[in-house]
């Protein structure tokens, strides 16, 4: 340590009167520089060039290193106080050594040390060293760092002397490495001083200097150390020396760790605890997780996102103001010279321009009105121009939380006016984004390798198939589904309208449109499909969807074929025609759907939820019947006639049966309502799966239904009742959270309260779940991040250990399969069908 050091620190003072670092002080110039203009005395480098150098303090008396207290204790207890040998008889040592080697291989070195302790404890009973017959006393520890033998305190000097006696072979036996480690090193005689660059001081506005926490701590140590030296040299009484020694031990301990359980943490003058070495490394905000495993990046932007169905799936709309700040370095070559020259001429203020140039010597120069002419003059090959973003540049787009690999995909830049990032609504799903104020990040790769990798591996269209289940993660949403559903279900156009529709969604070849006066929606939709595409599937309600030679023959297009996380149709197209075709087709289908809706019109209002009088009657009757049934059950219960279900008490049976009856009533009235509600926009959306479901409609038009907490009716609240409004022990539906009204007519106050109860429960559930699942994910990814497929097809971890002989037992990549399988039947049919 002394050899590695470049300076010995002897004085607690930091600066002299001119504010210049003192030689031999903690800010000694030999330890590195943190002030501009000064030169490091060790390596002659300037600020930010010199990495800094370690120094050392010679401690007047040895102190124990707090982080090794446990190991010291183990060693002291397991070795003889006189001869330093391990307390195991000679002849047994070898046998145990073999056993220990095995255990350390199996369970790691910590288990090994535990075993040594156990073995020694076994022989401890004798209280005598098997080698020299010296009597052994019990070693106790008084936390955090005082050792006692019997009643006598062992000073660090004595501890060190004991540790020195342990032989190298026995160090090995304990599972320590004798090459790197000697036990006595755990008691410090010299303290290493970290370089100043690791603990820079800040100059406040007032010109005052504020030192780093570590410097403060080191200052304390040096001060006490010096006093201890002086006192020892002056032959001060033992008591004073002991006190100072203890103080030194305290300061050194808190220098390493300021959160030792039994010690008061060292504090600033203000009372806030110092952040010393351990706290610097530890936890999420510590060095390892914050600075080493997590990095920050330049060339990135963040802003609010908004939808734009007119841009491509692979594109991202970038605001002009951002495009003019983010840059791409481009080398000046024979071919790019003219074009880059023009950009430089435009400068940083005119789009498309350039912000900087980098000279061949690596110097960076800002382009301004003043420097522009000069730069244009010297611009030649080998120069690099950092130009503005232009259409077609490669960018990585990301939304937190980045839960899966589709949370960061590569998009092509499209510079647009406005201040938000624009993205195609179809890619909302993989990002889990919506437009209620979400923000996203954009990163610009800066070299060819990064750009190539991003474009080939991360482009949106290459990520269409999820590796989680082998189906498409992007698909039409909302209006796009509704539009296509209506189109393929019922709409009929004349030829002009059809042409207009198709042209507006980017179809230019209209030759295959049938030459008829009336063209129905299915025919319009079919124009988009490739001419040799065959598909057989189901729509959402289970009806057949048949596509023969690129013509939609039967069935409608709804969520189950166009939407995300289902769409086998998209999956098949992806497989046959490739990713870019699918992306393009998806864009066209979305645009078509939206175009249809804009021409047809689509709206929803309170009127959509109106019911006919007789329907209302019918629903009322159904609910009434269920309520009566529940009341009858309650009567039976009180009369003691209710039969208990197996494994349940009578009261539980009652609850279950009431719950069942009421839920049945809700479902039934829901069915009635959906059946009899007039063909409305709300219903259309629910039917095709673009938004809402029949239950939502039923809750709005017919009945909200029973509110349940933890799988039961609502029970908590007041003594024997849910609300003070009800009678005690009232088991009737309305007193236990049954909401018989619908959202349109409105809820009674007690019903509203029950609704709020379950609403809050759901909210809490989400709030508690998010951190839990986040931690699970972190643990999983930490455990599995180094698993990879190697060239022989086996899955191995970082040290080459085989985890699986073939990935997933068959070596298939989920994202290349259809929902996890290679469909043999379909292939057979296809091959035979082609003949």
């Amino acid at each position: 340590m002394v050899e590695a050091a470049s300076a010995k620190i002897v004085t607690p003072e930091l600066y002299d009167r001119e504010g210049y670092p003192v030689d031999g002080g903690l800010m000694d110039l030999r330890l590195g520089v943190i002030d501009p203009g000064l030169v490091c005395k060790t390596d002659g480098l300037k600020l930010k060039e010199s990495l800094g150098h370690f120094g050392y303090i010679e401690l007047a008396r040895p102190v124990i290193h707090i982080k090794f207290v446990r190991q010291i204790l183990d060693l002291l207890r397991s070795t003889c106080k006189a001869c330093g040998r391990i307390l195991i008889p000679e002849e047994k040592v070898k046998r145990y050594a073999a056993m220990l080697n095995k255990s350390s291989e199996d369970e790691g070195l910590e288990a090994r040390r535990r075993k040594v302790k156990e073995i020694v404890a076994k022989y401890k009973v004798k209280d005598k060293c098997p080698h020299c017959n010296a009597k052994q006393d019990k070693i106790k520890i008084e936390k955090p760092y005082n050792f006692y033998e019997g009643e006598v305190r062992l000073s660090p000097i004595e501890v060190r002397a004991r540790l020195e006696k342990i032989s190298e072979e026995e160090v090995l036996l304990f599972g320590f490495s004798p090459e790197h480690f000697r036990p006595e090193w755990m008691v410090l005689t010299v303290l290493q001083i970290p370089p100043v660059t690791m603990r820079p001081s800040i100059t406040l506005e007032s010109g005052e200097r504020s030192e780093d926490d570590l410097t403060h701590k080191l200052g304390d140590i040096v001060r006490i150390n010096q006093r201890l030296f002086e006192n020892i040299n002056a032959g001060a009484p033992e008591v004073i020396i002991e006190d100072l020694w203890d103080l030194l031990q305290y300061h050194v301990t808190t220098f390493f760790d300021n959160e030792v359980a039994q010690l008061p943490p060292a504090r600033h003058r203000g009372g806030q605890p110092l952040k010393t070495l351990t706290e610097r490394i530890k936890s999420k905000e510590g060095r390892i997780r914050h600075n080493l495993a997590g990095k920050r990046t330049d060339f990135s932007a963040r802003t609010v996102i908004s939808p734009d169905p007119m841009i491509g799936l692979n594109e991202v709309g970038v605001p002009l103001s951002i495009a003019m700040q983010l840059t791409v370095p481009e080398k000046v070559t024979e071919w790019s010279k003219e074009y880059l020259r023009k950009l430089v001429e435009n400068g940083p203020k005119k789009y498309p321009g350039a912000n900087y140039i980098i000279k061949p010597n690596g110097r960076r120069k800002t382009i301004t009105d003043e420097t522009k002419d000069e730069i244009l003059e010297e611009l030649s090959e080998e120069y690099i121009v950092e130009r503005h973003l232009i259409d077609g540049d490669v960018a990585l787009f990301n939304r937190q939380p980045s839960l899966h690999r589709m949370s960061m995909m590569c998009h092509q830049v499209k510079v647009l006016p406005g201040n938000t990032f624009r993205l195609n609504p179809a890619v909302c799903n993989p990002y889990n984004a919506d437009f209620d104020g979400d923000e996203m990040n954009l990163h610009i790769p800066q070299n060819e390798e990064a750009r190539a990798e991003a474009r080939i591996l991360m482009l949106v269209e290459t990520q269409i198939i999820s590796p989680r289940y082998g189906l498409s993660v992007v698909g039409c949403i909302h209006d796009a589904i509704t539009g296509n559903y209506l189109l393929t279900k019922e709409l009929v156009f004349n030829r002009n309208e059809a042409c207009d529709l198709l042209y507006s969604c980017g179809v230019e070849d209209l030759s295959s449109l049938p030459h008829k006066e009336k063209i129905d929606g299915k025919e319009v939709f079919s124009i988009l499909l490739p001419k040799d595409f065959n598909f057989l599937g189901e729509d959402k309600s289970g009806n057949q969807v048949k596509i023969v030679n690129g013509m939609l023959k039967t069935g409608v297009m709804d969520k189950s074929n166009l939407g995300q996380e289902s769409g086998l149709m998209l999956r098949n197209i992806y497989e046959r025609y490739g990713s870019s075709f699918t992306a393009d087709l998806l864009g066209k289908i979305s645009k078509l759907g939206i175009a249809v809706l804009t021409r047809r019109g689509f709206t929803i209002g309170a009127g959509d939820l109106d019911l006919l009088e007789e329907t209302k009657e019918e629903i009322n009757n159904a609910i009434k019947k269920a309520e009566d049934e529940a009341l009858k059950l309650i009567d039976e219960f009180y009369a003691g006639k209710l039969q208990a279900l197996p494994g349940r008490t009578v009261a539980e049976t009652l609850e279950l049966r009431i719950l069942e009856a009421l839920n049945r009533a809700r479902n039934k009235s829901g069915d009635i309502a959906v059946r009899q509600v007039r063909e409305s926009s709300a219903l259309t959306m629910a039917k095709c799966g673009s938004r809402g479901n029949p239950l939502n409609i039923a809750q709005m038009t017919a009945i909200v239904g029973q509110q349940a907490l933890r799988g039961k009716r609502i029970e908590t609240g007041f003594k024997g009742r849910t609300l003070s409004y009800f009678k005690r022990n009232d088991l009737s539906p309305k007193a236990r959270g049954f909401i018989r009204n619908n959202f349109k007519t409105g809820l009674t106050p007690s019903e509203f309260f029950f609704g709020a109860m379950t609403g809050r429960d759901a909210l809490m559930d989400t709030a508690l779940r998010t951190p839990k699942s986040g931690y699970l994910y972190r643990r999983l990814s930490n455990a599995m991040q180094d698993l990879k497929v190697v060239y022989d097809g086996s899955v191995r971890d970082a040290s080459g250990r085989i985890v699986q002989f073939a990935y997933g037992e068959d070596g298939l990549d989920v994202s290349k399969t259809k929902n996890g399988v290679v469909d043999v039947k379909e292939i057979t049919q296809q091959v035979l069908g082609e003949k």
């Binding site: 490394i281 390892i288 590796p467 990814s781 180094d786 497929v789 899955v795 040290s799 990549d813």
Partner: protein, 381 residues
């Protein structure tokens, strides 16, 4: 299936996994000609090869993401009626966490006991067996306690109906209690058991203590089986239990050991071995995911199960389990308790070979996965 077809298909045994060959054999039409068949086989092989994983693919991380991402969508409701409405089961996220932690004491241990032929259709016999394995304590059989503090006598009245159900008599009970209790004389008469203190001690509390103590005495059944429930599953009856004891149950002659199962993965591993433990993890996780209506490919779950079992024993995905096994100090330190790992590394003189992901991120190097895996070997002249 014609034998010549089989021959053609078997030629591809090297190129396709077994289950796919089987699938082809099942789905191929009988009328197919030989040349057509080989054509079909070629296409199948081609699509199989096209769907294989690329070397360097970071399958572990993809697996972790595939399980972690839908984690937010799982319910937190610990107790949920799943499948069988009569019994509580831990589902959703808490159950997943429980499995991945490889916890020894799970919240709702359960078994599905299948019985051999005559017992599984006869409900009476099944009920008898169920009563036999259910752990019954003395406290459940007793209906009334009376303490005579003055004479130091404890009289317990037994529930006659329950006794008959279990086929027990007061005499037998008295015997078992006698074997376990010291300092008390135990006698039985009719449906009563009397405990009389034999030594005269001053402690009045003794009598009360003994009453509480005998309540927990196991009288019949298998340890750990707290609740039994016969259920019809398809054509036969099975027994669901809450509480598990796989080892003892499997040794019962009536039990069909090949199908009987426990949901405690650590127990399955200890009784049936590591392969069974791995399968138990996969099954249990899949059950939860399926119940939640989530779509996660089985390969990702296999991956987790495999890493948990890679060392020959079930290890949890925690800092004490899988992560501790890692070779790299920095990888371990970046997960949890960094100081501990760094200090141990200092003591042992550990070397980090920077072969995994985090270490390389820390030192600003490309990670050896995916496109970072291949390197170039050149001859330097």
């Amino acid at each position: 299936m014609k034998s010549e077809h089989e021959k053609v298909i078997d030629e591809y045994a090297e190129k396709l996994p077994e289950f796919m060959l089987r699938e082809v054999k099942e789905s191929i039409p009988a009328t197919i000609s030989k040349s057509d068949l080989s054509k079909v086989m070629e296409v199948i092989v081609a699509s199989y090869i096209a769907a294989r994983v690329n070397p360097g693919e970071c399958v572990g991380l993809v697996g972790a993401q595939s399980i972690g991402e839908p984690g937010t969508q799982m319910t937190l409701n610990t107790f949920h009626f799943a499948g069988v409405s009569e019994m509580n089961v831990t589902t959703g996220l808490p159950r997943i966490i429980e499995i991945f932690d490889a916890r020894k004491d799970i919240k709702t241990p359960m078994m599905e006991i299948f019985l051999k032929a005559p017992h599984n259709t006869n409900i009476e016999q099944l009920k008898k067996f169920a009563a036999k394995i259910k752990e019954t304590t003395f406290g459940e059989l007793a209906s009334e306690y009376s303490l005579n503090i003055f004479d130091q006598v404890l009289t317990v009245k037994l529930n006659k109906m329950l006794l008959d159900d279990y086929g027990l008599s007061a005499k037998e009970l008295a015997k078992t209690i006698k074997a376990k209790v010291k300092g008390f004389g135990v006698e039985s008469s009719g449906e009563e058991i009397t405990l009389t203190k034999s030594t005269k001690a001053e402690e009045l509390k003794d009598l009360y203590n003994i009453k509480e103590k005998i309540k927990d005495f196991k009288i019949t059944g298998t340890k750990g089986i707290k609740q039994v429930l016969p259920v019809k599953r398809g054509e036969e009856y099975i027994i669901l239990t809450s509480g598990t004891n796989l080892k003892d149950i499997l040794s019962q002659p009536e039990v069909d050991a090949s199908r009987t199962n426990s949901n405690d993965i650590v127990e399955v591993y200890e009784v049936l071995g590591i392969e069974a433990g791995r399968q138990a993890i996969i099954n249990e996780v899949y059950k939860v995911i399926d119940a939640q209506g989530l779509n996660i490919d089985i390969r990702h779950i296999m991956m987790v199960a495999d890493i948990m079992c890679a060392n020959g024993e079930v290890k949890g995905v925690t800092r004490y389990g899988v992560v501790k096994e890692k070779a790299s100090v920095l990888a371990r330190a970046s997960f949890e308790t960094p100081i501990k790992h760094l200090i141990n590394a200092a003591l042992e003189g550990e070397v980090d070979h920077l072969t995994s992901v985090v270490e390389n991120v820390m030192v600003n190097q490309p990670v050896p996965l995916g496109t970072g895996l291949p390197g170039l070997v050149t001859k330097i002249k």
